[in-house]
């Protein structure tokens, strides 16, 4: 008997031995939808605060136009410590004007990716409550290695991509695509269970929040010392 057949047979025998329990109905009475629709200024504010908790930078744009996003991306790169002459990587399909100096990925080897000072991408969706960005590898986001190997990641999030809850986030994603959910920069809790940011993934994450058309949402206020300075308001 093949291992496959034998394991399946064991599973069936075990379920029979346990009295053939019927699968219960799954009560999904936890929160599915959030308190605000996608893109609501309150959600954008919350996302910004959560990102601050993770010690990610947040740079709001002045408006939704490509030049305004481009200006914020430049500011984000500066905030991340990228110099004007440093090479910046971008995925194919990044909207025109977001990062004009970016070098478009051309199936570069991993070691080449490591030579870039930063990568600039868009995202597929974002979750406010957990401060999570979702990347799905579609145009403007690129293959997974792009947002992994360079040490700094600037991610552009449009307000309408921001949902409140985790269930809303997953509902927007395609499980057939390779997905990466990013909540702040790389971190570890392995030393005495204290969180330290920055291990193997990008050590610096800066999020550019594309403002919806005016009136612009108020800049995030963060009570925690040391975080405020990361916000360009």
């Amino acid at each position: 008997m093949s291992a496959r057949e034998e394991i399946l047979r064991r599973v069936r025998a075990a379920n029979a031995a346990a009295g053939q329990p019927a699968p219960p109905r799954v009560p999904r009475d936890y929160r599915i939808g959030g308190d605000h629709p996608a893109g609501h200024p309150e959600l954008v504010r919350r996302l910004s605060a959560r990102l601050g908790d993770y010690r990610a930078g947040v740079v709001p744009t002045a408006g939704p136009s490509a030049p305004e996003v481009g200006a914020a991306v430049r500011a984000a790169l500066t905030l991340a410590g990228v110099g004007a002459a440093d090479p910046v990587l971008v995925p194919p399909g990044l909207p025109d004007g977001w990062c004009p100096q970016g070098i478009v990925d051309d199936a570069f080897a991993a070691s080449v990716l490591g030579g870039f000072a930063a990568v600039v991408t868009g995202c597929a969706a974002a979750c406010a409550e957990t401060g999570t960005l979702a990347l799905d590898g579609s145009p403007g986001q690129g293959r997974r290695a792009l947002t992994l190997v360079p040490d700094r990641h600037v991610c552009v999030v449009r307000a309408e991509q921001v949902v409140a809850t985790v269930p809303e986030l997953l509902a927007r994603l395609d499980p057939g695509r390779p997905l990466t959910l990013v909540s702040g920069p790389s971190a570890t809790s392995d030393i005495e269970l204290h969180r330290v940011e920055g291990v193997h993934g990008p050590r610096t994450l800066v999020v550019v929040l594309v403002a919806p058309p005016p009136p612009a949402f108020p800049p995030a206020r963060e009570p925690r010392p040391g975080v405020e300075k990361r916000h360009q308001t």
Binding site: A3, A17, G131, P167, P175, S183, S186, D190
Partner: protein, 562 residues
């Protein structure tokens, strides 16, 4: 005597709901392990790390003597408990999430064969290859052959409980392959020639000073001025592994979940070492226990909320990766999934004990456990320590091979309260103690140990005391009330009480055991709850009302953790 004790033991099943188990004994499989009590197949002895080389009390006694270890454990578990409590309190639907998380697992296991077949279909349809492994040895040889077929000599690895369980690193090393653990804690364990002691943070027993020393000793070229700061230590690990990641062609991972309907695998991590392994190599081999499958994509919305908050006290872990088969131009070109039994079907065969398979390996029950906090993970012998280990390891191996673990608990019930999928750990512990007693009695073991176990069974069969003991907390209370009885056992059983190294009877609590082993010559210590060395610090001094004591304990705990 043995026959008599068995008859009295049979009082337990009626109360604890063991009734279905006799049906199990006559089940279609009939294979079982030694003892043959269960359908399904326990993990064979001889490979993997599911049991230690000595019983829990012996190992625990040594751990208790290590004050540095106890300090490290207290510090780390205290930190994580506080963080967990904070982020759990943020969600007002936490209980609904727990209930749903439990229901999905229960529903999945009830149709496990169908979900596994569907998973295989979907992964295969998306270009992946699925392998099945009955036990550790088979899984190890599958992975070894897959690595060999690539022609590569080295492998990068993402932390995974399944691969620790089967001893994959050792098997690959024996085949002449080099394995690089890439998770920071696993790296610390590997470089320290050590064993993991926690399912989320395997190096939790090490403090920063010890980690610095390990790095200085084991990583070539480390600056001797390296400071014992988490930031600097993490940077050292980054520099050390960077080139390894960039050149690696083969990776091995575990999986936190696999979605049957879409063939999507999921790895939850923090550092980005997981992403490196899942993304950069050409070949990816994932080893996953068969219980990790979930039916639908939607089900992940539950566990992606329960897991990070319970495991590391974060609203969300830094990185979660999912993949379904092969994606051209993005990530590995050869994707394998090894589905592992290794005792899971034996666990599944028990109508109550199978709930241990619901575990999402968050570690919250370890962090809250008064026993784990004091003895750490190594004392449990198995790679699964703490409360979950105490119910999972004996079921995976057959209870005889881990006979002391079901006693490694004070039955205080804190684990069940924090468990994100509501596993009733104390009830399963009690059940396994009973199973152990029963196997002993079936084997007609005429030892003082068996007599003591029988005594436990006799005490447990007292229906009057058990009638009210449905839920875990009340169960703990019922057992607690019974505690003093050990000293009043009739003469044949005093043989046991005279021998402090004999396995404890089923009803003995950790606290009793502690008192007995710490102060073997001091009869006073045993029943003096205010002794300065009170190991649990949980049971209120002579509380007349257990419920009140329990409330007070919880309040005290909440205070500690806020």
């Amino acid at each position: 005597m043995a026959a008599g004790s068995r008859a009295t033991f049979l009082g337990v099943p009626r109360i604890l709901g063991l009734a279905g188990r006799d049906g199990g004994r006559g089940g279609a499989d009939g294979g079982g392990g030694p003892g043959g009590a269960r359908a399904g197949r326990p993990a064979p002895a001889g490979s993997g790390f599911l049991s230690g080389d000595r019983p829990f009390p012996d190992a625990a006694r040594e751990a208790l003597g290590d004050t540095q270890l106890r300090r490290n454990l207290a510090h780390a578990t205290g930190t994580i408990r506080a963080k967990r409590a904070r982020v759990v309190a943020e969600l007002d639907d936490w209980e609904e999430l727990r209930t749903a998380g439990e229901a999905v697992k229960r529903a999945t296991l009830a149709r496990l064969d169908e979900h596994l077949v569907r998973l295989e279909e979907e992964v295969t349809a998306r270009g992946g290859q699925v392998h099945w492994a009955r036990d550790a040895a088979e899984a190890n040889s599958i992975v070894t052959e897959l690595v060999r077929a690539t022609g590569q000599r080295e492998v990068v690895k993402v932390k995974s409980m399944a691969t620790q369980e089967i001893g994959l690193n050792e098997a690959l090393a024996a085949a002449g392959l080099t394995v690089h653990e890439t998770d920071l804690a696993e790296l610390i364990v590997q470089l320290g020639h050590d064993r993991p002691s926690h399912i989320v943070a395997p190096a939790l027993h090490r403090n920063r000073g010890e980690i610095r020393e390990i790095f200085l000793r084991e990583i070539p070229g480390v600056d001797p001025r390296l400071r014992a700061e988490p930031r600097d230590l993490a940077d050292t690990a980054r520099a050390h592994l960077r080139q390894t990641f960039l050149r690696a062609k083969v990776a091995v991972s575990g999986a936190n979940a696999a979605v049957a309907e879409t063939g999507t695998l999921c790895v939850v991590e923090s550092e980005g070492n997981g992403r490196m392994c899942l993304t950069l190599p050409e070949t990816l081999i994932t080893v996953m226990g068969i219980e990790k499958v979930v039916p639908t994509w939607r089900d992940l919305e539950i566990y992606l909320q329960l897991l990070p908050r319970s495991a590391t006290g974060e609203r969300m872990n830094p990185y979660t990766s999912t993949w379904a088969g092969v994606t051209p131009g993005d990530g590995p070109r050869n994707v394998h999934l090894v589905l592992l039994d290794n005792g899971r079907t034996a666990t599944l065969a028990d109508p109550v004990g199978r709930d241990a398979l619901h575990c999402i390996k968050c570690g919250a029950c370890l962090n809250i456990c008064p026993v784990y906090q004091r003895v750490g993970g190594h004392a449990y012998g198995s790679v699964y320590p703490g409360p979950i280990g105490a119910i999972l390891s004996p079921q995976l191996t057959g209870v005889e091979r881990n006979a002391s673990l079901p006693y490694a608990s004070s039955l205080c019930g804190a684990c069940a309260e924090v468990c994100p999928v509501r596993i009733d750990i104390p009830s399963i512990l009690v059940r396994l103690r009973a199973e152990h007693v029963e196997e002993r009695s079936r084997a007609r073991v005429p030892s003082a140990e068996a007599l003591a176990m029988a005594a436990g069974a006799w005490v447990m069969s007292d229906a009057g005391r058990f009638a009210a003991a449905g839920r875990a907390g009340r169960l703990g209370r019922a057992l607690g009330r019974r505690r003093g009885r050990v000293s009043t056992l009739p003469p044949p059983l005093s043989a046991w009480t005279a021998s402090r190294d004999a396995p404890r009877p089923p009803e003995e609590t950790f606290r009793d055991w502690w008192s007995r082993t710490r102060a073997p010559r001091d009869g006073q210590a045993r029943h003096n709850p205010t002794a300065p060395d009170d190991p649990t610090g949980r049971e209120g001094p002579t509380a007349p009302d257990d419920r009140r004591a329990r409330r007070a304990r919880r309040a005290r705990h909440d205070q500690e953790t806020r």
